[in-house]
Symmetry: C2
Subunit: 564 residues, 2 copies
C-alpha cells in the first residue's frame, strides 16, 4: 500500500466510523453542509464556483483528455448540452462509439486487480477523498446541474451538491460495512478424536468487474452517485454514461475521481466518462457488454425494464417511476397541509421521481380545523396554496426551475384535457433567463373510476381523485402502487386508526409513507443516512438507497483454505 493511500486512510478513518454509526442507527447525520451560505463555504466559494462553471462553456472538457482512446478519432469528443434556461453550453466530452467499447472496457478493467487488492478500507478512504473534493466544488456543480437539469439554483446546490455527496458517502459506508462482514482470515479448528483439524481460511473480496452507471437528465449526480460509489468502493471499475443533456455534472465528478485515484497510485481509468450523442443509444451496447457486470440506472420505466430483461450478465439496479400518492382523510391544519402539498407540486416543477401526483380525497369532503370541507373546497384550497407560492414570477422561478424538456411542457399545457381543470398551468417568465420554459403546476380533478391518473405524468401535473371513502383511497393506493409502482406516499389524517391503516396499506404497497407533513419536511425529500429512497418492493425501483442489499451484489467473496 502506498503512503498516500495510508495517509488517506488516516485522514478519513474518523468520518468513515461516523458514517458507519449513522447507517446503523439511521439517526440524523450529515457530512456535507447543505447551506450555500458564505458563512459555511466562505465568501469566495460562490463567485469562484460560478467562474469555474463559466470557464467550461464552449470548451473541450480538458480535465478528461487523459481518458483512453481519444487520439486519432474524429468523433472522440462530443457534446450537445443546451441549458433549460436557454443558452447552449457548447462543451465537448470524451465520446466512444460501439467500435471502441471493447478497448474502453479493457482499459477500465486493467486497474481492477490492484484496486481489488488494496482492500475495502483503502477504497473507502479514496472514495471519501473524492467526495470531499467534489464537495469543495459544490458551487461549480450547482451551476452545472442548474444548466443541465433545469433545477433552480438553491435546489441544484443542495440536491446535486451536499445531499448527493451525503448519499454517496452513505453508499461508501454500506460498502465498507458489507465487505468487512467477512474476516480477512480465520483459523478454523474442529475438535477431533486425537487432535483437532486446523485450517487457515482466507476470504477475499472480489469485485464483479465493470459497473455501468447510466445517468438521468434531472438528477445527474444525486441519482448516479450511489451506484457509482457503491461499485467503486467494492472494487469495481466504473463507466459513467451520462444523459446526453446532463453531462457536465458527471464529467466534473469523474475528473475528480480520476485525479484522486491517480494521486493514490491507482489507475485513473478505473473511472471513465462515456458521453454519447443525443439518440445514439450507447447505453444498450454498454449494458450488454460481457465486461459490464453491474448496471445502475435511473430513468424511464421502459428502458429500465429493457435493462432488467436484457442485461443478464450483470446485476441491475433500476429506479424507474411510479404513481406517487397522497391520501387525504382529514387534517387539523388545512393551511399547513395545502401549503406543504403546493410546495411538493411546485418544487422543480414536479420533475422529481418523488413528487406526488395522485391525491385521493373523499368525494364527500373531509374534516378539517376549519370545519368540514367539500371535495371542491379542498381542491380550491390546494389550488390557492399553489397560486400563493407561484404568484410572483421572480420568486416562483426560484422554486420551479425550468422544464427539462418539451415533453414536460406539453404535459403541463395539456393537463386540462385529462379531467376537470382545478388549476391550469401558467407560463412563467424567468427574469434572468427569458428563454427558459417555466410552468406552474396544473391541478386536475378526476373520479377514481377514471384512468387518466393511472400512468405517470412526469412534470407539474397533479390529480385530485374523488373516492367514496378513505378506505377506497387506501385500496387504490395499494393497487396502483403494486401495479405501477410508487416512490413515495403520504397520508393526512387526524385519526390514529386511519394512520395505522395507511401504514398497513404502505406495507402492502411496498411504498414508504410520510404522515401529516405540514411543515418544512416534504414528501419529495429523503435524507441520506436515515430515509430509504425507494423500497425495491414495488415496480418503481428494484432496490433502495441505501441498504446492504444495494451493495452486497457488487462483489463476491472467494475463499481459500489450507491445513496449518
Amino acid at each position: 500500500m502506498t503512503s498516500s493511500v495510508e495517509s488517506l486512510i488516516d485522514k478519513h478513518r474518523e468520518v468513515l466510523d461516523r458514517a458507519l454509526t449513522a447507517i446503523g442507527t439511521r439517526e440524523y447525520w450529515s457530512r456535507y453542509p447543505e447551506s450555500p451560505s458564505p458563512r459555511v463555504y466562505g465568501q469566495e466559494a460562490g463567485p469562484a464556483g460560478e467562474r469555474a462553471y463559466r470557464a467550461h462553456l464552449g470548451q473541450r472538457f480538458a480535465a478528461l483528455a487523459d481518458q483512453p482512446l481519444l487520439d486519432g478519432r474524429d468523433d472522440a469528443w462530443a457534446g450537445y448540452e443546451v441549458s433549460p434556461y436557454g443558452p447552449e453550453l457548447g462543451i465537448t466530452y470524451p465520446h466512444y462509439g460501439e467500435a471502441q467499447l471493447d478497448e474502453l472496457l479493457a482499459a477500465a478493467s486493467a486497474g481492477i486487480p490492484a484496486w481489488r487488492d488494496a482492500g475495502p478500507l483503502a477504497r473507502a478512504a479514496v472514495c471519501v477523498e473524492i467526495l470531499d473534493r467534489i464537495n469543495a466544488r459544490s458551487f461549480e456543480m450547482a451551476h452545472a446541474v442548474m444548466h443541465t437539469s433545469g433545477q433552480p439554483f438553491v435546489m441544484a446546490f443542495q440536491a446535486a451538491g451536499p445531499h448527493a455527496q451525503d448519499r454517496a458517502l452513505e453508499a461508501v459506508a454500506y460498502a465498507l460495512f458489507e465487505q468487512r462482514r467477512v474476516p480477512e482470515e480465520v483459523v478454523w479448528e474442529k475438535p477431533g478424536k486425537d487432535q483437532p483439524l486446523r485450517m487457515l481460511k482466507r476470504f477475499h473480496v472480489v469485485p464483479r468487474g465493470v459497473g455501468l452507471v447510466i445517468g438521468c437528465n434531472t438528477f445527474p449526480t444525486w441519482n448516479s452517485y450511489p451506484g457509482l460509489f457503491a461499485s467503486l468502493a467494492t472494487g469495481n471499475a466504473v463507466v459513467v454514461k451520462p444523459h446526453p443533456r446532463a453531462v457536465l455534472p458527471l464529467a466534473i465528478s469523474v475528473a475528480v475521481a480520476r485525479e484522486v485515484l491517480a494521486e493514490a497510485g491507482f489507475d485513473p481509468n478505473l473511472v471513465v466518462l462515456a458521453a454519447e450523442t443525443d439518440g445514439e443509444g450507447l447505453a444498450k451496447p454498454l449494458a450488454l457488454h460481457p465486461s459490464v457486470r453491474v448496471v445502475d440506472y435511473t430513468g424511464g420505466p421502459r428502458f429500465g425494464a429493457w435493462l432488467e430483461e436484457n442485461a443478464r450478465q450483470a446485476v441491475v439496479y433500476t429506479e424507474k417511476a411510479g404513481l406517487n400518492t397522497v391520501v387525504v382523510d382529514s387534517t387539523d391544519d388545512l393551511a399547513g397541509m395545502t401549503a406543504n402539498l403546493a410546495f411538493s407540486f411546485t418544487l422543480y416543477s414536479g420533475q422529481m421521481c418523488t413528487a406526488p401526483q395522485n391525491v385521493y380525497v373523499p368525494r364527500d369532503g373531509i374534516d378539517t380545523d376549519t370545519g368540514h370541507r367539500s371535495f371542491d373546497e379542498v381542491a380550491e384550497a390546494i389550488a390557492d396554496a399553489v397560486r400563493r407560492l407561484t404568484g410572483d414570477d421572480a420568486r416562483a422561478v426560484q422554486l420551479l426551475g425550468a422544464a427539462a424538456n418539451r415533453d414536460v411542457v406539453a404535459r403541463a399545457d395539456g393537463a386540462g384535457s385529462l379531467g376537470r381543470a382545478v388549476l391550469e398551468s401558467r407560463a412563467v417568465t424567468h427574469p434572468d433567463f427569458p428563454e427558459a420554459t417555466v410552468r406552474t403546476p396544473a391541478l386536475v380533478a378526476v373520479d377514481a373510476s377514471d384512468e387518466a391518473y393511472l400512468s405517470e405524468c412526469f412534470g407539474p401535473v397533479a390529480f385530485l381523485i374523488a373516492t367514496d371513502s378513505t378506505q377506497e383511497s387506501l385500496k387504490r393506493f395499494v393497487e396502483t402502487a403494486r401495479e405501477h409502482g410508487a416512490m413515495t406516499a403520504s397520508v393526512y389524517s387526524t385519526q390514529e386508526s386511519v394512520l395505522q391503516a395507511a401504514e398497513q396499506a404502505a406495507l402492502d404497497a411496498g411504498a414508504s409513507l410520510s404522515m401529516n407533513l405540514t411543515g418544512a419536511v416534504y414528501v419529495n425529500q429523503s435524507a441520506a443516512f436515515s430515509d430509504f429512497h425507494g423500497t425495491g418492493a414495488n415496480p418503481a425501483a428494484n432496490a433502495t438507497l441505501t441498504d446492504g442489499h444495494y451493495v452486497s451484489g457488487r462483489f463476491r467473496v472467494v475463499q481459500s483454505r489450507r491445513h496449518i
Copy 2:
C-alpha cells in the same frame, strides 16, 4: 405475541446469539452433532429412526393430510419414489396440478401478514425449534435420504441431517442479522434555525411473498434448507417442490415445520409441500406464478438458466454445476494426495456438486516426496488409491452409495470413450441391496487440447488432463471456471509461489480454493458457519451459502415517518 412464541424466543435466544457470533468470525462452530454414535443421540435413536422410516413405506404421508385443497380430487396424492438401492417406497404426498396453483398460493399467502408482524426474532426462534425437531429425527431422515438420493447411510446421516441442519441455522442467523440491521424505529432530529425538526421514523421488514424451493434428487435437504429457512425467517411463506424421486426427506421437514408453526399460533400453510409426478414439470408454472417472489433452485444448469431467464417476477437463487478442478503441481505427500483425491472421487460416486472432475497434471510429471513422477505414474498412483479404497465391495458401498439414476451409470460405463482409460469403472454388488446399481470411479487421461473434459460429467468420472505446465493448468482452470463454472477447486504444490499464483487464479476464476488437502478434509466438503459453498462469481451458482446477499433480497424495508 403469543406466550408460546415468547417461550420459543427465550428457549432459543442463546443459540441464536451463538450462531450470530459464528457467522461473524466464521470460526468452527456446530449446533447439531454429526456423529451417529449412540453415545451422542442415544441407544434407541438408531432403531427408532429406522422404524419411523419403515412406517412411511407404502403409506399416504398422513402428517401432511391437513394441507389445503386435498379433498375431492382424484390426483390429490401422488408419489413414485424408488430407492436407488432397489425397493419402491410406495409413499404418496400432497399433489397439486396447475389448476390448483392459484388457490394453493393464496392459502400459503394467507398467513404472511401475521408472520410478518411477528418480527425477525420470533421467526428465527420458530425456525430453530423446527430445526431442533428435525434434528431429533436425523436417523429417520438418514434412511429417507439414503433411499431417495442413493447416498450411503453414514453420509446420509451427516450430510442430510446435522450438516444440513447447521447450514439451515446459518441461513436463519444471517436472516436475523440482516433484518435487524435496520432499527425498528428512530427519532430523527435535524438541527434547525429556531428549533430542530424532529421525526419519528419506523422501519418495517416486509417479505417478498411466497418463496419456492425446488429440491434436487441428490441432496434433498442440504441444498433445500438454506433457501427454505432463509425465506421463512424473513417472513415469506414457502412452497417446497421436491424432486419427484426425493420427496420423503422434504415431506418430513415440511411436516415438522407445519407442526411448529401451528403450535406457535401461526398458519401452518406458511410451509406447504407440492409433490409432482415424474415429468410433470410443475416447477415451471410455480416459478412463473405472480405470487412466487423468491425461487431457490439446485439442479442442472439448463433448468437453472431457464429460471434465471424466465422467473422475472422473483428473486432467483440458483446452484447449478461446473467443472470442479484440481491443479497438481507438486507434493511432499504423494500417498496423502492420492488418497485424498481417491476419496473425493469415490464419496457418493462423485454425485456431489462439489466433487472434483478435472485434474490438471503437467505432462512432464511432478516432483514428489518419492522423487519425480511422470504423468502416467501420477495417474497410476491415483488409480491405485481408488482401487485400494474401493477394492472390497462391502466397504466400498459404504462410501459409494448407489447411482441416483441411469444417466450416472451410463456416464461411468461410457467414460472409456472419452479418452485413455486409466481406471475403468467397476460394477459393485451391494451385500444388502443386490438391486442397487453401484459403480466405482473411472479415471480418464486426456490432453489439455481435448474437449471431453469441458462439460460436466456428473457421476464417478474424473479426467486427468495433461498440460504443458502448472501455468497452463492454472490458465485452463480460470478459463473453464469463467465459462462453465466451478463449485470447488484445489491445488497441490510444495512451492509457496505456486500456491499464491493458484490463489490469484482462484480470484479470477471466482472459485474457492483448497490447498494441499492430504488428510481428513476433502475438497467436496464445506463446513457450515465457516466455508462458503459456491461463490456466485462464476456460472456454477449465482449466490453463495451463506452470506448477507443470500438473504437480503428476500425482504424489503418499508418506512414511515411523522413529526413528533
